[in-house]
Amino acid sequence: MTTSDAAGTDRPGSPRTRRGQGPGGRRTTGAPGWRPPAGPALLDRLRVTGRARPVPDPELVADLRSHLGLDVGTGHPVPGGPVVVTAARLTQALVCAAHAEPDGPREPEPTPALACGALIDVLFRQLVVTGSLDDPFADGLDALSVDDRRRPLLAWIDALAPGERDGLRAEVLRQAEGLRQRWPALDPSWLPRTKECLRVPATAGGFELVARVDLAVGRPAVDEASVALVDVTSGTPRAAHAADRRFHALVETLRSGVPPFAVATYYTRTGECDVDAVTADVVVHAARRCRAGLDVLVGAGPGRWSADGSSSWCGACADGPLQAPPTVHAAPPIAMAGVRTAAGATAPPPVGALPMCGERAA
């Protein structure tokens, strides 16, 4: 679950919300008369990607592991145990110098947007599992009360002035009602799993890739991809959301040996749904970004990316109004088994990118 500023002014279809779409990405947009998909239509958006579902590709997985150094680790012990590399930490690590916090990343202070996100998070879980929301605001607070990590946030909500609390409640009810009206019932035989944890440890230690997805659907893959992953966010679309879901696709690919067939971000504020059909290109792109983040987090990386770099991985740059659309997709294709290379792609590698371990010539 990610949360961004609920007071944002983005509207579906604005230039900003069009950013962050990757290969195969589809978004419900704000054309005149546009209505968010609901029920079976939303389910179809998740299930029918328009592409053939990926099949197990051991060579691709081996190349991804090699690129990320998963079979080597850091090569030295890390005090306090392996570095846990999550989507959020990657995003923080890849923030350019211009957007970096001067004193490094900090724990976010509670805000109405953060509280709304936490409440919608548990309400989504409740809806998936029970199919109903009785009194969403009360249910949400109730659900947070059994999570020790949420005590500070609960205390903060309790201390809100009546007007602020009413405002939070109204937004939670609005988004919960949207969820109730639009989110499709999932057949139990699809094994819907909320807050699914995905882990890929480096064999020799040092770090592990960890993702926790809001919803995973589908039985383990046998002959072709059968799992879809969904992130739910109460905030506005951001480039980081696309990067997050592709990171999740990467971790699932490494974990199970088969990519998910789709990764999606569902925006409860608007009912938008971004869906990426997962291809080898998607996971390879995610691996390149992940490698760049690993260099910062656990290795002797190049340090902060320059804000001047046109191919910066910085999500804040990609969201900025003056920033050109991310050029990451113009990066040279990676020679990997099963990955088609785009002819004529001659753009230089991203700033600071390191050569891939075991990279083979195209």
């Binding site: 059994v146 807050k195 995905l198």
Partner: protein, 285 residues
């Protein structure tokens, strides 16, 4: 056939009996365990209790510095209820009552609470806590159990194993004889009986996180406790481990060498616990 199905299928059949001597050293393993444990806890006060479990073995291996720290007082959380409810859900699905855990957890929890209210009997222990929760918190319990159970359910064709598979069940407990009580607790998620004429059962264990470097000894611990607890029963022939977070499935065949290694691991962990207690002054001589 699902991946785990190949793991739990007994490696020994009527045509392929357990080789003589494979488990013949169990008596020796037990004796060495008793001696080693007695020496390890010699500095603890008479009557001291040390309870060994798989999580403790893992903690002793990865974070021994935490062994002397006081435990947080217990209070129920959704994560603590997920295993018992999840196992009930998988068992009910295997029995054909439900199609999948997502369908089973709600009715099973409601039924348990109803039974507790009617009879005072607690199937899962958490019924009074669960009954006092609001709808949102209850949903979190069901969600945790559903996710946990779905992995176990998808790991094998439990329905096809029929009566051979026992989902859940009581923990294996064995108390090491001596003036200080050292109790070994083995908790596995399923036991699959051998086919007719086969030898010992196959145990199935589900763990969160990643397998440690010494995962074989850890799985072997479950077989060790099962063998100690029921000396008249065949020793488990195999232990299958699932680590759903990491998407890993591993098995280890049980032989005397594995049982010995697991027993040594127990002795080492007990020694660490005893040393930590003595150092912390929580259990002076």
């Amino acid at each position: 056939m699902s991946p785990l199905a190949t793991l739990v299928e007994s490696p020994t059949t009527v045509e392929d009996p357990v080789p003589a001597g494979v488990h013949g050293g169990m008596t020796g393993v037990r004796d060495r365990l008793v001696d080693g444990v007695a020496a390890a806890v010699g500095d603890l006060a008479t009557g001291a209790l040390v309870e060994v479990s798989l999580p403790l073995l893992r903690r002793a291996g990865s974070r021994p510095e935490t062994l002397g720290q006081p435990e947080d007082p217990f209070s129920w959380k959704p994560a603590f209820a997920r295993r018992s409810l999840g196992l009930a859900a998988v068992g009910a699905c295997a029995g054909g009552r439900f199609r999948a855990p997502a369908e089973a957890v709600g009715p099973l929890a409601d039924h348990a609470v109803d039974e507790w209210r009617r009879t005072g009997w607690r199937t899962f222990h958490w019924e009074p806590w669960f009954a006092g929760l609001g709808a949102g918190a209850r949903a979190m319990v069901l969600a945790e159990a559903t996710t946990w159970a779905s992995h176990l359910w998808a790991s094998a064709d439990w329905g096809a194993l029929g009566a051979r598979a026992r989902i859940g069940g009581a923990d294996d407990l064995w108390t090491c004889p001596g003036p200080r009580t050292v109790r070994l607790k083995g908790r596995c998620e399923a036991r699959v009986a051998p086919p007719a004429g086969g030898s010992g059962p196959v145990l199935v264990s589900v763990s969160c996180g990643n397998p440690s470097d010494r995962w074989e000894e850890e799985l072997g611990y479950l077989a060790l406790v099962a063998a100690l607890r029921s000396p008249d029963q065949p020793v488990p022939v195999r232990v299958a481990g699932l680590w759903p977070d990491a998407g890993m499935r591993r098995t280890v065949d049980v032989d005397d060498a594995l049982l010995s290694a697991s027993a040594e691991r127990v002795v080492g962990a007990v020694a660490l616990v005893a040393r930590a207690r003595v150092t912390a002054g929580s259990d002076p001589v």
